[in-house]
């Protein structure tokens, strides 16, 4: 156990060292930095998703709901009250948490799980999108631009994408640390037990509702804070931030990366979203939709031939992962 953790830590450090130097290599082209930042944002979201989706086994498809709430909270406070996004992003995280609790209480109270949990959360993203479209004071159908102070560190308005890149990288490190701390804590073991078989775990005395709520809170907070940074990167907020298909994509990254493996979702985000953004940048102009065809074929092939996740490519070859028998009937 000890050795495996240090091995993972080495990989993480190697990744960080490479990531730190990325702007030095691509720094001359702001567009490339933005693309890489986008890939990292998916990395943060998929890593955070791993807490609720990978460890706790709840197929949450509402990640962009929390992202949008964080973005709208911080931006509205910035536009209306000139509150700096540095404080706004914490408040954005808290609003996302409040919403998560508001939704999570009844969801877990009424024992909605499996597909129905997934579909409820998808529906929530769409509901929020419509609500913010109709709520003219905060959202409305027109983009709301953030005030622009060139190079103002105090208001998180940088003249370049590089500082945002480092901010997102920081969020990624935090998300990874939270993930691995939870995975090795008591909560983590409870969550894993729940993810395998909820009824059995409850019989053994695990408080399913409290555990799942705590996982949801961590997840919502991390993504809410990221959302505040997200709106600052693009410089505006819009109800289209509540994006159903992209929320599904985040969950897919978590699944394809390897459920419950701390760095799996990040790996999937780097490879799949990286490939997608690369294909879009190189093919996008000529044939619209072609990059999505290639991306989805890669996705289907990975799922069919590596159902336990991309991360299992890199896991110890000698150690066969325990075969997981899941009865179909338990699903719904």
């Amino acid at each position: 156990m000890k050795r495996k953790r240090s091995h993972n830590l080495n990989n993480l450090l190697l990744f960080l060292v490479i990531a730190l130097f990325v702007p030095l290599i691509f720094g001359s082209n702001q567009y490339n930095i933005l693309l890489i930042t986008t890939v990292l944002i998916y990395g943060v979201m998929a890593t955070s998703w791993n807490i609720i989706g990978g460890l706790a086994g709840q197929l949450d498809l509402a990640s962009f709901a929390y992202l949008g709430l964080g973005a709208f909270t911080s931006s509205t406070l910035f536009i209306r009250f000139n509150l700096t996004p540095w404080i706004g992003m914490i408040l954005g995280g808290l609003v996302a948490v409040a919403f998560a609790l508001f939704i999570g209480f009844p969801l877990f109270r009424f024992r909605i799980r499996g597909v129905w949990y997934a579909l409820t959360t998808t529906a929530l993203v769409e509901v929020l999108k419509v609500v913010f479209n109709m709520w003219e004071e905060v959202g409305g159908p027109v983009e709301r631009y953030l005030p622009y102070f060139s190079g103002s560190i105090k208001y998180m308005r940088f003249g370049s994408y590089i500082p945002y890149y480092y901010l997102i990288l920081g969020m990624l490190v935090i998300a990874l640390l939270v993930n691995s701390r939870i995975a090795h804590s008591k909560l983590g073991f409870y969550l894993k037990a729940l993810g395998e078989d909820e009824t059995a775990a409850e019989v053994l005395g695990v408080n399913a509702r409290a555990c799942k709520l705590r996982a949801l809170v961590y997840y919502a907070f991390l993504i809410g804070v990221t959302g505040a940074i997200y709106s600052n990167i693009y410089g505006y907020v819009h109800p289209s931030f509540f994006n159903g298909p992209e929320s599904i994509k985040v969950a897919i990254l978590g699944i394809v990366g390897g459920r419950g493996i701390t760095y799996g979702p990040l790996l999937a985000a780097l490879l799949l979203v990286g490939a997608q953004e690369f294909l879009r940048a190189s093919l996008g102009g000529e044939v619209s939709g072609l990059y999505l065809v290639i991306y989805s074929v890669i996705l289907i092939l990975v799922v069919l031939f590596k159902p336990r996740g991309i991360a299992t490519f890199f896991q110890d070859r000698n150690k066969k992962p325990a075969k997981q028998e899941v009865k179909k009937k338990n699903v719904v």
Binding site: I112, T120, V256, R259, G289, V293, V332
Partner: protein, 297 residues
Amino acid sequence: MEQGKEISLNMEIMIQSLFDGALMGCIYALIALGLSLIFGVMNVVNFAHGNFVMLSMYFSFWAGSIWGVDAVLTPFITFPILFIFGMLVYYGMIDRTLKEHYTIQIAVTVGLMTFLGAITQLAWKAQPRALPYSFIQGNIQFGGYTIALSRLTSAIISLIVIVSIAFFLSKTWPGRAIRATSDDSDAASLMGVDFRKTYALAFGLGSSLTAISGGLLMTFQQVEPTMGLRFGLLSWCILALAGLGSISGLLISGLIIGIGESLAMTFWDPRARSLVIYLIFILVLWLRPKGLFGRKE
């Protein structure tokens, strides 16, 4: 006096809206029936179902614009295509993931959903497509109300198809095999039902039902690559409302969703149409997890 007039006008608008919603609801029920077959029989969560509808609509558009087939008649061409397509999807993807965790099945169907969305965008570009007027165009008037003939015909055809599927499931041998497998696949295979063939049949039938609804929708609607997810979620809502194993429940739920959508568009805000559906969906899940008409387990 003035107020009384306004109320009667409102009543008229409401009845008109109820009619429109009910007609749409029949088609929604037909779409959800395909999903219900797939989910009820093999417990596979097909996220791509809405995109099957979209694909059928594009095939109908193709048949209509290349060969000049009338939209109502295109299902005769697209039904077998979608049936084969469904079988291929089953043997190529679903069959391989039956034993896996349900998230893997969702991942593979989401991959399929993205693929279908992208390939239609590639083939037909992003702009909406529509067919020229079908021969069932026109309106009938009675009282103060107007009913589009194309919607009325579509709703009637949907009802006929739903009834014949119910007949197929209860009276024919393959239909009974499907129902037996959905009750207990182990017991059914002991009775000599090949459960994989039954699954493939159910998947093919479930997908080919979208061919009929796609052709019907094309008589009065246009198609674009982004509409898949909406149809998918819509049919899941109907399924949640109906519960499994009840075709009449499915029809009533389709009507509820269609009418709810129509009333929301008329009396509240056109943007609120999905809001009402999803709120009904969430409430039903919380209050009646087995659905309004689901059979007891």
